[in-house]
Symmetry: C2
Subunit: 329 residues, 2 copies
């Protein structure tokens, strides 16, 4: 049995969407949920019963709250309480559709780092025609040293294998050319250490390969990763904006089939549909989904988190780091 703390108050349509997502879990999956939030509000959303134990919290972090404000002024938020449940050992992991920065700050503040980890990292899944690509880091560590990127590669590789079920995950180092000679100083210094690390390193990959499905894990510093993530979000909006704009301007009738095709494609570009953002490198695990997540996305996030904890991702990360240390010493 695995026990997951879930933030009932995070997301655009909370707590309803979260409650519905929790209720979609099957008894046979062996996942026990601690649903953190306002008990009354939760009750109202579950007239036919709730497959979870409710843990009370009295404050809610809003989307516009800064991480430091949330940390200082809202110590009894659903995020803070959920993160603490993991710290206390009452839950194995935490899932939230709330404020990404606030969840990250709370986890970084509350949980210790894994032994050997220099800096934690945040991951997202980039959609491709095959399996999505795990991109690490997308904003936890903006100025990185080579060894930190190698640690990200190890964390990403273990996570891809254990939580996402990839066999011998292909790990690439993001650069601006696949040749070893191309890239910036950080890439040049990182590559030889990457080649020696206990991972399936396939070399440097370029930006377009993130969405080609050729690589399971792509590693970059948090400045580059966060820029890519936000640029991608803007680009997807722009494209679908153009599509609907042309349809309107030229008075093209979009029948329901075509509309459904557009919406489905747009949903596939939303990284939250494929697993949300995972913070790795801490003694605790958390998965942060998008505020717009559907109940199905909430349910999937809880399942992914259960896989993360079941397969002892953190133990394996620590083992791999020890192996790397032995090799490089």
């Amino acid at each position: 049995l695995v026990r997951i703390a879930v933030d009932a108050m995070g997301g655009d349509h909370s707590p309803q969407v979260v409650v519905d997502g929790v209720n979609m879990l099957e008894q046979s999956e062996g996942i026990e949920v601690l649903l953190v939030g306002d008990p009354e509000a939760i009750d109202k959303c579950a007239p036919d019963g709730l497959r979870a134990e409710v843990v009370k919290s009295t404050q809610v972090v809003e989307g516009h709250d800064s991480p430091s404000f949330a940390l200082k002024k809202k110590p009894d938020s659903s995020i803070a309480v959920g993160v603490n449940l993991v710290k206390q050992g009452r839950a194995d992991g935490f899932v939230s559709m709330g404020n990404t920065g606030a969840v990250m700050a709370s986890a970084l503040f509350t949980w210790d780092r894994l032994p050997g980890i220099s800096r934690p990292a945040l991951t997202i899944m980039v959609p491709t025609h095959k399996q999505p690509t795990l991109l690490i880091d997308v904003g936890a560590c903006v100025d990185c040293k080579p060894m930190q990127l190698v640690q990200f590669a190890i964390m990403g590789s273990v996570y891809a294998e254990e939580a996402l079920g990839r066999t011998n995950p292909r790990v690439g180092l993001l650069s601006i050319g696949t040749e070893a000679s191309k890239g910036n100083e950080l890439v040049a210094e990182t590559r030889p250490i990457m080649e020696a690390a206990p991972i399936n390193f396939i070399g440097n990959v370029e930006g377009n390969q993130l969405s080609s499905g050729e690589v399971d894990v792509a590693v970059c510093d948090g400045f580059v990763g966060n820029s890519l993530l936000k640029f991608g979000e803007g680009l997807v909006e722009t494209i679908f904006g153009f599509l609907f704009q042309y349809a309107k301007e030229e008075e093209i009738e979009l029948d329901d089939h075509v509309k459904s095709m557009l919406w489905k494609s747009m949903a596939r570009m939303d990284y939250t549909e494929t697993g949300g953002a995972q913070l790795l490198g801490l003694q605790g695990a958390c998965l942060i989904g998008h505020g717009r997540s559907s109940s199905k996305a909430v349910c999937n996030a809880i399942r992914t988190m259960a896989n993360t904890t079941l397969h002892h991702v953190n133990d394996r990360i620590v083992q791999s780091l020890q192996k790397l240390e032995e090799q490089t010493n």
Copy 2:
């Protein structure tokens, strides 16, 4: 009168598309073209006459040739000859739909830097619902110092004003949050110099703002810019791939209107439709379009290049740099 050298041999459908693009220019525009390439091949593409003088070259740089190979082994390529026409003062600027790396290498090798410029930079236009955003640098300078980013900002600002017709262009520094406190070390060190520079600096911008139309010029180092560029290309392919895949899987009939809507939107996402890549900071000007460019795109690229030279972009860049130097000394 302005004289532009044009590479007849570059691009997927050369020389036909290039010849057609040149022939679309109106006599009244006052642009004289020196078309560089194989005279026989060019002649065959222009049975009804050519609005250009042909300059002979005997070699062609292929798309897969490395920049250093092209530079060493193909000294009489259409790229090398075109770049030399500018060096000799016979042309005011060079336009090519060929191998971007080879054009860049040839220009960097042949042309001197502008006085005061530490490193040249490559720009592209990012599509938005309003006017496209000029992104500088996308790969010419991968490890940047703060002063280099400020020089990019000045070059981008002058180019946006003179060649693209933007009034008092808004310049942003790419970061991972709009607050001054967010970003990496490079951003933190660059921002105060940016604020003192003779440009309309509006502060830090995030990746999604590149496609929002809120900013005319966005500045980043060439590693980040090149990663964004390639990631964007991959993402656009993925999205349209999903659209057509869903249509096929669910047997949705796409009528001609819907198809045209899809193709038009896809074309708008192609940065070459909005001007190609411009290399700035050298005593010479060149514009590099996509290999897939249409004859219309070729024609527009020649017009943009004519604007660049007509408005003395380089003179104004040098003046602004002197102003910055006076301010910071």
